[in-house]
């Protein structure tokens, strides 16, 4: 197997005096969809930012494509990995196509620049926003904005995709469409890391699931290994059931009192 895209060893991140991540060791491999799950405030977004090289761990190390994350300039990183953040506001009334085009910024002045138009078209088609092309970003609905932002991230065309809750604002149809797209991007030399809140969605699409709680990795493994009623109930602090969905994936359902 080829070397991991990103490798974290004993990484710790602090903000002020608060420890956000402690002693995290994790590898992101090519060809896999790695899903990060955990309760609010568990440190998922921080872990994603560390994998992206945006945050350099105070202890331990994060090795991105063979080099410590601190050794990169922003432009170099931008050609290796793309990141979808949770908030994606745009300050001025740019049109959808212009926003997606911004994803090509890291490649300006390179030989790949000529592909810009083609890549942007493809990214918009993949996410299903081609018909919004000439709309202003700020006038779109939350779900449409989320998809356009994802198209921008795809247009960046990197080997590693890091997505923070790409499905949060989406309807059921688009949730699955996006996750299928994510799946299809994890081939050969490319890998995807996704933060998800929907555990059933995670179970359906992940190769491996990372369960995080209070800044520590609690479990890593296949959905079946990690998403067990026992582990999840403990971490989330509520009673949860794990059942098999008709198509064979684990499905996580809260135990609710009957009315």
């Amino acid at each position: 197997m080829s070397s991991p895209l990103v490798k974290m060893r004993g990484a710790g991140v602090e903000r002020g005096k608060r420890t956000i991540l402690s002693d995290v060791s994790l590898e992101v491999n090519s060809g896999e969809v790695l899903v990060l799950v955990g309760p609010n405030g568990a440190g998922k977004s921080t872990l994603l930012a560390t994998l992206a090289g945006e945050i350099v761990p105070a202890r331990g190390e994060a090795i991105i494509f063979g080099r410590p994350s601190s050794s990169y300039r922003p432009k170099e990183l931008a050609r290796l990995r793309s990141v979808l953040l949770q908030s994606n506001d745009v300050s001025f009334p740019f049109r959808v196509r212009q926003v997606v085009q911004m994803g090509r910024n890291p490649w300006s002045g390179t030989e790949y620049e000529e592909l810009d138009g083609q890549v942007v078209d493809q990214a918009m088609a993949d996410v299903g926003v081609a018909d919004l092309e000439q709309r202003r970003f700020n006038e779109l609905s939350g779900g449409e904005r989320a998809r356009v932002s994802l198209a921008r991230v795809l247009a960046q065309h990197t080997d590693l995709l890091l997505l923070d809750e790409p499905t949060a604002a989406l309807d059921l149809h688009h949730q699955d469409r996006v996750m299928q797209l994510v799946r299809s991007r994890a081939t050969d030399s490319r890998g995807v890391v996704v933060v998800l809140h929907d555990l059933s969605l995670a179970a359906a699409y992940a190769d491996r699931v990372v369960l995080i709680s209070r800044g520590e990795i609690h479990a890593v493994g296949t959905p079946r290994e990690v998403l067990t009623a026992e582990k999840l109930s403990e971490i989330y602090g509520v009673a949860l059931r794990v059942m098999d969905s008709p198509d064979g994936h684990p499905m996580v359902i809260p135990v609710r009192a009957t009315h």
């Binding site: 990183l77 994606n88 300050s91 910024n105």
Partner: protein, 358 residues
């Protein structure tokens, strides 16, 4: 910010390119018309033929159009042309400064006048006037630059959070800085002797009267350098509108970009303020109109703002010296007179479309 006005979703790329050419053409016609009308307007009767002839004459093309009268030639080259060129340069500098400031603040309301950069530059300039500070003959400009830079840095440090600026914070910061600069100005006025006091008061009201070539050779290079650098940075400024974190993820060196742009804003504003006084709202109005017409992409925004700012200022200056026979109105007063209601309309429209800026 959602731009006011109806949105045509079906607008094709070629249609918007066509409208872009239209907008640039309109701006250029306005500018050239303004220059021509301004050249022939004034106490001394000069015709358009004579203006053209005189310019050709200076380029070594002596034609029958060239004015025979020495006085006409002198009026054009000593009084009117420097003033027109100064008006264009100042308008362009303020418009580009405004566009740049809006880009780094991620906010269409950021304007050197509104947030206090102009007052900071004014304070610096008055200190130079009163204490006779000179650096290589351009002490007023240098001090205006320092004042403007300090004010920009201060607004920037106080009003920004996470790469964006809340409108309320921005305006409140502006109020604080304006108040401080005004107090400083008052103190400087208090210390000044009668002559420099008068000089400061009139200079503050803004005027392009008495512009001379020696000032133009300071302002125009600053404008060219500032606009050139802004043009080179345009694509990065586009990406910056995604917010600081997203821009960094996309390979923009956000810190470096910020510092360069702050220096540019201070430079452009100071260049304008030092020689023309405080001229408000140009940096707000021009980029706003250009954005409405052409969209927010910074490359076209900056280029067309140069033309638009120049055109606006030439016409405004023309009005100041023709509205009242035989006298020169302060141009800062005029732009504020037009800019105030414009600002108002902007707020009103915004309130209607999205319940305000907050």
């Amino acid at each position: 910010m959602a731009s006011p006005g109806p949105v045509s979703d079906t607008r094709t790329a070629s249609a918007s390119r066509f409208s872009a050419i239209g907008v640039v053409a309109v701006a250029l016609v306005l500018l050239l018309g303004g220059v021509l009308v301004s050249s022939v307007s004034g106490q001394l009767e000069i015709t358009a033929d004579q203006v053209v002839g005189s310019i050709l004459d200076r380029w070594g093309l002596t034609t029958s159009l060239a004015p025979q009268d020495e006085v006409i030639d002198a009026t054009l080259w000593v009084v009117r042309f420097p003033r027109i060129i100064m008006a264009m340069a100042v308008g362009a500098a303020l418009a580009v400064g405004g566009a740049l400031m809006q880009a780094i603040f991620g906010n269409p309301l950021a304007e050197p006048g509104v947030v206090g950069v102009s007052s900071g530059a004014a304070l610096g300039a008055s200190i130079a006037i009163v204490f006779g500070i000179q650096f290589a003959g351009s002490g007023v400009a240098a001090m205006a630059f320092i004042g403007g830079l300090l004010a920009t840095l201060l607004v920037y440090a106080v009003a920004r959070a996470g790469g964006r600026t809340e409108v309320v914070t921005l305006l409140l910061t502006g109020i604080a800085i304006n108040a401080f600069a005004q107090a400083g100005l008052a103190f400087v006025l208090f210390l000044a002797d009668t002559a420099s006091r008068e000089q400061i008061v009139f200079w503050q009201l803004g005027s392009l009267a008495g512009s001379v070539w020696s000032e133009i050779v300071v302002v125009v290079p600053l404008l060219i350098v500032g606009t050139g650098v802004a043009w080179v940075l345009a694509r990065q400024l586009d990406v910056l509108s995604l917010g600081e974190r997203n821009a960094r993820q996309l390979g923009v060196d956000v810190e470096g970009l910020r510092i360069i742009v702050i220096v540019l804003v201070a430079l452009l504003t100071a260049a304008a303020v030092a020689f023309a006084g405080i001229i408000a709202f140009v940096g707000l109005i021009v980029p706003h109109i250009v954005r409405m017409a052409l969209g927010p992409a910074h490359r076209s925004l900056i280029v067309v703002s140069v033309v638009g700012g120049a055109a606006l200022m030439v016409w405004a200056d023309l009005l100041t010296r023709t509205l009242v026979e035989g006298s020169d109105l302060p141009i800062g007063m005029l732009t504020a007179l037009v800019g105030g209601p414009f600002f108002f309309a902007l707020l009103f429209q915004q309130r209607k479309s999205s319940g305000g800026w907050l």
